[in-house]
């Protein structure tokens, strides 16, 4: 599975991710990346621990298959700056994953 590339495999991979999340994969939903320093720490972990490892990416980034609200803001993928609306894809270089608009992760940023 070419999880870091875009294209016809997106739908298949998205479904696979959805199954993992629905199956109870425990991810690091909290704490959210509230400051730039926390963002940098999580990004550094993605680079060192999760390259090419879909499961670790989902865990470290704190993916959920529903929208999480934090600090009074809903944080769905669809409003995140890394989300490509038409491709339904997260373009954060350390993730590069097909996602759903209503999912969420703790690296959300607007």
């Amino acid at each position: 599975m070419a999880e870091d590339s875009a294209g016809p495999d997106d739908d298949t991979l998205r479904e696979a991710i959805a199954r993992r999340l629905a199956g109870g994969l425990e991810t690091e939903v909290w704490p959210r990346a509230e400051s730039s320093e926390m963002v940098s720490e999580i990004i550094a972990r993605l680079r060192s621990e999760a390259t090419g490892d879909l499961g670790r990416k989902l865990v470290i980034a704190g993916f959920t298959d529903h929208t999480v609200e934090a600090n009074g803001l809903e944080q769905p993928c669809e409003t995140c700056m890394y989300y490509l609306v038409h491709r339904r894809f997260c373009e954060l270089p350390e993730l590069m994953l097909p996602v759903e608009a209503g999912w969420s992760c703790r690296l959300w940023r607007i």
Binding site: S36, T79, R109, I110
Partner: protein
């Protein structure tokens, strides 16, 4: 004929290099077409040592009428308030600066260092550097908050790291040809003709800004550099995308974030690790929002704009 004297304090000479690249008008045009007599300039002056000193003394005494005094670089006060770390022609540069500023009809600060301290004044500011009339946002600087030159104007600040060459030559021409009265200055004494609009004004990435599509790497043609790569274009007053660099481009057009170098806080966040080329966020929202936009409005606008983004806005189209 207008006599111009140009000195450098705590500087890298970058503004002199920029000035020599001016095109509209060029540095040569200043002399041949606009009657500017360059008494001395660090990279152009022929005199050395005592001969330079003699020019400076004649300017101060009034024997040579000094119409325009240009200063590039910081005024250095270290060590211990003596200014001895920057000596020039036999004494601290800051003493020349004060006396020449009092003798001049107009005083023009070129570049961030001379305007508000720039990189040398970054904390902990070991050289005790300041600009001519500002230290960062604080008014005062080397000449004091109340300083005005003989013509009645405060220091005319042309910031930038470096300043665009044509900003420099066009302001010098305005002053030399008796049109200084046409200049209006903003709260930081920058000519409004250049510093009222934003770096973002004229940016070729504005459509990506509008639809909230982000660049994720330097040099990408797709996306806006504000959202992730620390671009300060929406908050920075400069005409960098109206008066192009080398007539062809700008930082943002080349895929490089604006560093906000025409603002007093430059370099931002005191260059702390992780702050350069990275948009600083708090709870997922940029700490510094486009000028005049509040957090609530930004969040609403972003959600709406992203939902309305057309497919082409997410593609790597040719935008230069």
């Amino acid at each position: 004929m207008a006599n111009l004297l140009w000195l450098q304090g705590g500087a890298c000479s970058g503004n002199t290099m920029s000035f020599l690249n001016a095109e509209e008008p060029s540095a040569c045009d200043l002399v041949t077409d606009f009657g500017i007599n360059v008494l001395w300039q660090p990279s152009l002056g022929l005199e050395l040592g005592e001969d330079v000193k003699a020019i400076l003394k004649k300017c101060i005494s009034g024997e040579i009428p000094l119409d325009i005094f240009v200063f590039e670089g910081t005024v250095i006060d270290a060590p211990n308030g003596t200014g001895e770390w920057n000596r020039f022609c036999g004494r601290p540069m800051r003493e020349w600066v004060k006396e020449l500023s009092e003798a001049a009809q107009f005083v023009v600060a070129i570049g961030d260092c001379a305007t508000w301290g720039g990189i040398p004044a970054t904390a902990p500011n070991p050289s005790d550097s300041k600009g001519l009339q500002f230290l960062k946002r604080e008014k005062g600087g080397a000449l004091g908050a109340g300083f005005t030159s003989k013509a009645g104007l405060p220091v005319i600040n042309i910031p930038g790291c470096p300043a665009h060459p044509d900003w420099v030559t066009q302001i010098l021409v305005a002053v030399a040809t008796g049109r200084a009265g046409d200049l209006t200055l903003d709260e930081f004494q920058r000519p409004k003709t250049f510093f009222s609009s934003f770096t973002q004004t004229g940016c070729t990435r504005n459509m990506h800004f509008a639809y909230k599509v982000s660049s994720t790497a330097f040099g990408q043609r797709k996306g806006c550099l504000f959202y992730d790569l620390g671009c300060r274009g929406p908050m920075t007053h400069s005409p960098c995308n109206r008066i192009l660099w080398n007539r062809v481009s700008s930082k943002t057009r080349a895929g490089m974030p604006c560093l906000g170098c025409t603002e007093p806080e430059f370099p931002f966040f005191d260059l702390a690790p992780g702050t350069v080329f990275k948009t600083q966020t708090m709870m997922g929202v940029p700490k510094d929002l486009p000028a005049g936009v509040d957090k609530k409005g930004y969040v609403k606008l972003t959600a709406a704009a992203k939902g309305a983004a057309p497919a082409w806005a997410e593609e790597d189209i040719f935008v230069v």
